[in-house]
Amino acid sequence: MRILFVMDQRVDRGSIQSMSSYVRAGDEVGYEIALYGRTDPRFPTIRFSRDVGAFDYVVFLVESCRNWMSALRMPRIFAEVPRCRRAIVDADGMYNQIVSTDNYDRNYQWEHIRAEWLAHYRIVADKIFQPTFTPREPGVRKVLFYGYDPAQQMPPEASPGKAYDILCVGHNWWRWRQISRELLPAIERVRSQLGAIAFNGSWWDTIPAGAAELGLESAFGTDPEWLRRLRIQVKPSVSYTEVINVMSTGRINIMTQRPLFRELKILTSKYFEIFSADTTPLVMIDPDHAELVYGPAGRELALCNGIGEKLVDVLSCPKKYRDIVEEVRRHLLAHHTYCNRVQELVAALQE
């Protein structure tokens, strides 16, 4: 079987890492998987193809924008692949009722925008998949989609030196409320016991141009002065080809998720990618959800109460946490590899 993904690929954000893993895992289990487009040196690990008609299925990976599914791109795909062989992975939970968490994060602000999205989806595909254990809408199929790629695992002996005690690799997109209410106050309390800290990613110290016009200012809340006071370095985002390496320079890596995703229990690439790095991942999700994804050991890595104490504990007891992380990796190998994911996707497409 041949599967062609179509997405808005960015070198330093979104689901690009998973594409790389799908291509590799597909080869391993006997499916040819490619991404729509032309070979691009920025994406050295990804197979590209424009030969739309040569694929059995086309899968659109949709995040929180859809303008990339433009009229320039779509007619060719529509003409060559019938709707019954097209599917959408609804990565950001757009195929839902309006969900607003604490009047802060939301999938839509207005009902008419939601109606436009859904009308768009209906034209694009007749199968909608969501990377969550519990889709809410009838007709949506659970396809966890993201997974763990053992081929990416950074072995300790190859790992770069530890330059940071704490790293947070990701973009400040609907993260600030959790960071400012939970993480930063905790860091402030134990700052003297912590070494270097860095946030790698976009918008930690600036709000992008146009955010206010689009009504998205709150998605990029930040307080550069507070970050400076806490001696938190802000570093630029990194390419997906470098992200495991960069994460491995931190003793601890913290994963945050946007409130909407926590509410909908949506998985992302980061859930698994962070376990490929030579680091102790701490995930800012509730312990039950951590256990659901990572197995029982995952509870220990959920960062929700006693955050400051947990950070200090991880730094002072590395062996204890290394064992926990290894146990989680064994769980991921058993349940969440990309080879599993490819098989699950194929089954869902063939239903």
């Binding site: 424009r50 990339w68 433009s70 009229a71 320039l72 007619p75 209906r122 034209i123 141009a209 146009g210």
Partner: protein, 364 residues
């Protein structure tokens, strides 16, 4: 003919004036013209329709990806009109390999996330016929069709003789003009030329009179351009202020001819990419409707091939100040050139002529 235009209309930009002229001229010639979509209250004189099957051809007028309708509408359009009867007018030379001229590009991946090959594949998928508003398309599978045109009925003030025109223009038989020079248009890939023009005018600005630039981003470089590293939207607020240049917002398409008529001079500037590809715009023709002296800042070959031989005199050339001073000394000669050029444009580039050309293209 029954023609359905497909484009995103904006009263301050792109093809709105040209499409409005097709509606007007089409009605007079017995054609039926509409724009695809639900009737827009903003453009009551432009009929809209979603009844695709009622039309002979769908003409996509494309500047940006947003000119294509959103998906449910697009699907309706593609289902209702066979590809053989879909035509794209590629207004900005997208249907070419990637071309860079100075800071100007025909593909702006940073801004619209589409690579060059996608424009070619995409256009090929949508339409059988690709037209470009140039006399010299680069690709064998694109055809030249200037699309924009000249409407003699829109000329702001008519004159029987050049002498009469020159006297009126000089304020001897009409109100003196409010401005020395105006430019109506957005600052997108125009600054390098505008800057040279203003610099050249600076020593004689007293004799030119007040200068006004209208449109978007003349006053500052937008943050997003800096963030994306997109060049070609530069400006120099200090220089404009020091020269006393008045900056105003956008002028609605139906006010442009009258507004430009308030100035003695109006430059005709095309983007560097358009100069390279020989692409014309609405303003190429519309400026000749205003009661002003156009300062043609275009390649000589283009001036002659589009405007005819009389327009040679209106070419600014290297010595901008000398050219303007010569106009001020002997405006009659220049008005003679303008009147002859208007007649040439009426003969060769009227909207009636455009309909004949389109008809010939469709017949083939």
């Amino acid at each position: 003919m029954k023609l359905l235009f497909v484009s995103k209309l904006n009263r301050f930009a792109r093809a709105i004036n040209t499409i409005a002229k097709y509606v007007e001229a089409g009605k007079a010639l017995g054609h039926e013209i509409a724009v695809f979509g639900d009737q827009s209250p903003e453009f009551p004189s432009v009929p809209y329709s979603v009844d695709v099957k009622r039309f002979d051809f769908a003409i996509f007028v494309i500047y940006e990806t947003q000119d294509f309708p959103d998906l449910p509408y697009l699907a309706q359009l593609l289902d209702g009109m066979p590809k053989e009867r879909r035509v794209i007018i590629d207004c900005t030379g997208r249907f070419n390999e990637t071309i860079q001229v100075e800071h100007d590009f025909n593909h702006l991946e940073k801004m619209d996330n589409h690579m060059g090959w996608e424009w070619i594949d995409g256009f090929d998928a949508v339409a059988k016929t690709i037209l470009q508003p140039t006399l010299t398309p680069l690709r064998a599978d694109a055809r030249g069709f200037l699309f924009h045109g000249f409407d003699p009925a829109a000329v702001e003030r008519r004159y029987d003789t050049a002498e009469q025109a020159a006297r009126s223009w000089a304020g001897k038989t009409a109100e003196p003009k409010q401005y020395g020079m105006v430019y109506v248009g957005n600052n997108w890939q125009r600054w390098s030329q505008m800057r040279s023009l203003l610099k050249a005018i600076e020593p004689i600005k007293q004799s030119v009179g007040p200068i006004c630039l209208t449109g978007w981003a003349w006053d500052y470089r937008p943050d997003w351009a800096a963030e994306l590293g997109v060049e070609g939207i530069d400006t120099d607020a200090a220089m404009l202020q020091q020269m006393g240049v008045e900056l105003n917002g956008n002028v609605s398409f139906d006010q442009v001819v009258a507004f430009v008529s308030r100035a003695r001079f109006c430059p005709v500037i095309h983007r560097p990419l358009f100069n390279h590809l020989g692409i014309v715009t609405n303003r190429t023709f519309e400026t000749f409707c205003s009661d002003t002296i156009p300062l043609l800042m275009l390649p000589n070959q283009m001036i002659e091939s589009i405007y005819g031989p009389a327009a040679r005199l209106l070419a600014v050339g290297e010595d901008v100040a000398g050219h303007i001073q010569d106009i001020l000394r002997r405006p009659e000669a220049y008005w003679d050139a303008i009147l002859k050029t208007r007649a040439y444009l009426a003969d060769h580039h009227s909207f009636q002529r455009r309909f004949q050309e389109l008809s010939a293209i469709f017949d083939k």
